[in-house]
Subunit: 317 residues, 2 copies
């Protein structure tokens, strides 16, 4: 693989970032991705500080290659998570779902490489202004929490590329080497991939959840809870309840009550496929089998180069 | 330009189809696109049969190159529109928004090349089964009426490509040569472009509408009216009314009443920017200036080849 801005920044072989997903990406997944040449991220969004500490220690034992931690900035325990990250000298942090201003300078002061996830141009410019090293732009098709603008990857990447100087990483709708190549053609220098890794061997998600991903067809997800925080969910009994409530004009309070506590854990980690909150991207329709992270990365890169050759053969004058 | 399945099928120079849009694409736009090497489509969705006849006659006078007519299959006057198309021996028809079964065999029996617009795999397979010559797959980011699955172009094209034998044309989110190249990398053999042509010199839309497109930033559109027929609209006073009504659980009947009659004409053709129904795609955020159709196609192809060269230089091993 030729080096580019993203591989150089993180010191990785391939410009493939594994999204830091709640209940899926612990040390097993992160170290497997890093060992295969991508950048593995521990998803701290579902972890208490002491659990994150355990995962960082185990990840370091499992790989000598760069890995990082994803920190959603919306939880009250963020300060404690950041403190663990600093204490254990994690070298790469991806922040998401919040304002990058508060933590970027702290992390940078400790020599940490910082990337921030955005879904619109306003926050992309803000992230760059506060000094992040890379921007992840996540399109509407991505799983889990999402932006209110609903801008898709196909539109978001060309929109942000001319506004930014820092490396741009595309996320949302990418589960193949062809989609990775398309994202780079749109202006990204790397990709962040979630759903595909959420369903792989090393993901800590329940096999019921993985099976639901393999079984999903087109139109199997929808962005819901827009009055709260928009979140892309797989259809199930809980999904139907939300659709019905929203169709009848449910208020923020009613949606909070309906959501309750611990639904994502119940669905993704404990395998309650009917009543859990199943966060997954639209690309679940394209994922049919379980592979190891190493196989997925090998397949992605093989298909990436196949696409590069095909396109060059067809279109180079 | 190298020939491919789409250019060969329609007898055109570039695999660029101009979407047949209500109140925008009459004979002026369609003939300008065809004369510039793309495939121009007259949008019959906003036309009475006698007006369509006039546009077909004028389009034939304005170009010797192939052009077509887009026919949404949801209006009561479809039979009369098809009759005009047959009488004037139009050679290419794009059908949309309905079941392709009824008209495809009739059109094919008259030697007409037929393409059908879909937003999911079920209708793509159905269109191929009833004998269409090409499939247009339109993603969530597209303007105007849209599918209920909300699948984006980045996901829809790779999903449909392995299922279909016929040429596949990507639509939704494409306003640049880079996005065109990305669409081909995803598996399409051509692109259908709407918003960009809706705002060009030869579009019959009102200059207020064009100006609103140039002024739009990210997040300026949203898919609304999902209980009726989903439609992507630009934000204005009418948009706000719909959002408010839907947030309160408005019924189908209430939405019909709110929509009323003639709002798309009022907004797009007559220039009532506040109270009209402004159908446009997410890519309006990327469109800033008015160009002629010929300039747009030249720019698209220049950027397409620039992207092809850049990607090959960076990634070919």
């Amino acid at each position: 693989m030729n080096a580019n801005k993203v591989t150089s920044l993180f010191g990785i072989k391939y410009p493939i970032i594994q999204g830091g997903m709640i209940w899926c990406s612990g040390w097993r997944l992160a170290s497997a991705v890093s060992n295969a040449g991508g950048l593995g991220l521990i998803g701290s969004g579902s972890m208490r500080p002491e659990l994150l500490e355990e995962h960082i220690i185990k990840c370091k034992a499992a790989t000598n290659l760069p890995f990082g931690v994803n920190v959603p900035l919306i939880y009250p325990q963020t300060d404690e998570l950041i403190e663990i990250i600093l204490r254990h000298q994690v070298k790469i942090v991806f922040t998401s779902a919040g304002n990058p201003e508060k933590y970027t300078s702290l992390l940078k002061a400790h020599g940490i490489i910082v990337a921030h996830v955005v879904a619109n141009s306003k926050f992309a410019l803000k992230a760059e202004a506060v000094g992040v090293d890379a921007i992840v732009a996540e399109g509407f098709e991505a799983g889990g929490h999402n932006g209110i603008e609903e801008t898709t990857t196909m539109v978001l990447i060309p929109q942000l590329r001319p506004l930014l100087k820092k490396p741009l990483i595309a996320a949302g709708g990418i589960s193949s080497g062809a989609a990775m190549y398309a994202s780079m053609a749109l202006g990204a220098e790397g990709v962040q991939i979630g759903s595909l890794f959420a369903s792989c061997v090393e993901s800590s998600s329940h096999w019921h959840f993985k099976q639901a991903i393999f079984d999903a067809g087109d139109g199997a997800t929808r962005l819901l809870m827009k009055k709260l925080i928009p979140v892309r969910l797989l259809k199930n009994a809980f999904f139907d309840q939300v659709v019905q409530a929203e169709g009848q004009g449910a208020t923020v309070e009613e949606l909070k009550t309906l959501l309750g506590k611990g639904r994502a854990k119940a669905g993704i980690f404990a395998g309650d496929i009917e009543h859990g909150e199943l966060e997954i991207g639209q690309v679940c329709a394209l994922i049919h089998n379980e592979h190891s992270a190493a196989e997925l990365i090998e397949n992605l890169m093989n298909e990436f180069y196949k696409t590069a050759n095909k396109m060059s053969n067809e279109w180079l004058l």
